[in-house]
Symmetry: C2
Subunit: 271 residues, 2 copies
């Protein structure tokens, strides 16, 4: 019985030697510190790199190392393997909800909901909005080189949805919703009186990216209702109650609870 254990013990010994060779390649091993992920994690080694190291070990140690290689490979891949599901090449990230205010050729105000949007520069302060050429707002911006961004509070979710579902070519969306366009004194576009936070933009660049065109708007001013301002004079998300769009399922969500100030949160990471 004892003699039958020797090959097994040799295998284990070779396995341990192999492990020590791998360890000699300096993988950083640390423990995840949030209590949720207690298994050791290897940093800074990709699966490909580790596979390469394993192949070298296989060549060094010959046939017996075959077992070792497969065992290590499996254990490493269990750590590195990610169980995420592929959803395909799609635009499936939560986005802000902006209402874009423009004038058409005749000076009629129009509002359109856009979610392919974002801040894109601090100096000069700029935003980007992406529109299809087919939209009424696209033509309006090409004509006027200006637009406003109007941030709806959650109470205007139905208007925000409506503004994104019909074209200003077919209906007068402002007359139907009863919202009030106010002429910007800074740019050639109207903003919405009833919305708590608005931004006046002048187009400085236009980039075509596939089906959409990106308009880069330089921010000329931000205007806010006093009711949504915090003590520091900035918009307070707790009072603004802006809307989040979830593509794919095409749903609106509220802005939720305060998570923390960045300056406080980052202190929780121990360097």
């Amino acid at each position: 019985m004892k003699s039958r254990l020797y090959p097994v013990m040799i295998l284990i010994l070779v396995f341990l030697i192999g492990i020590s060779i791998l360890a000699g390649e300096h993988p950083k091993i640390s423990k995840h510190n949030d209590g949720l992920h207690s298994s050791p994690i290897i940093h800074n080694k990709s699966v490909a790199q580790i596979q390469c190291m394993e192949n070298a070990a296989y060549e060094r140690n010959g046939a017996l190392a075959n077992l070792q290689e497969r065992t290590v490979s499996q254990s490493v891949q269990v750590q590195m393997k990610d169980t995420k599901q592929s959803l395909g090449a799609r635009t499936l990230l939560p986005t802000p909800v902006w209402i874009i205010g423009t004038y058409d050729k005749e000076g009629k105000s129009n509002m359109m909901t856009a979610a392919w949007v974002g801040i894109c520069c601090s100096q000069p302060p700029c935003v980007t909005i992406s529109l299809r050429e087919a939209t009424y707002t696209y033509s309006n911006i090409m004509e006027r080189k200006a637009f406003t961004v109007n941030i709806p509070s959650e109470g205007f979710a139905k208007e925000a949805s409506y503004f994104g579902s019909v074209s200003g070519r077919d209906v007068d969306k402002l007359a139907i919703t009863g919202l009030t366009p106010v002429r910007s004194e800074l740019v050639d576009a109207p903003y919405l009186k009833e919305f708590p936070l608005i931004v006046e933009c002048e187009v400085i660049y236009t980039y075509k990216v596939g089906l959409h065109t990106m308009f880069i708007g330089e921010i000329k001013d931000v205007k806010a209702d006093a009711s949504i301002l915090g003590e520091n004079g900035y918009p307070d998300a707790k009072k603004l109650h802006s809307i989040i769009f979830s593509p794919g399922s095409a749903e609106f969500y509220k802005t939720g609870e305060f998570l923390g100030k960045l300056s406080e949160l980052r202190k929780k990471i121990q360097e």
Copy 2:
């Protein structure tokens, strides 16, 4: 006493004639229908247009119309005037929180928090992220022409804050946070195993906009933990719990309650 009333009656008469002239210019008057704003609202007339009409009336009616003009002007401006406060030309809109994953020249993984971001095209599916040249991630993307977008759930708020507060040139942010980079099989960049939703991007355009450079990344795949998917197979914001950044006050917020499906919300507007 009676004779002293005549000038007043003439004034009222002239005032009413003035009003009817203005009404002849077809302002659309509608009532706001949400019960909160009960005063009549004039659509599609800017303050400037109305002022122009008033000036014409003033010229027609001479000195007596002076009083009329001022009265009309006041009443119209009460309706049109917006009480918003100017906050200046600043980037003060709520934004998503994305962690950008890249490799440096030597293949070291880095993660950086970005909020000047957004979806920017549907076909091909693209995102834009804006970075300053001074950042480590900027150099990495210029080198590798690829990045990942990693969406932190609210439980990773401290990591998201930390990733935005230090440079990968100075520290190994992954070693410190204990998070796991996984090599993308589609693009030359790592994504975070622990984050519930990730996007693999290949850079197809680069645009310089002032202090920031916009990288347009074509989405090659979206990957998600099964735990955040809804019945329709799309990411469910109720399960994803992504973070919102409020610039100005530099705070993080949770994603809040479900407001509605767009297809349902828009039906609440009566055309």
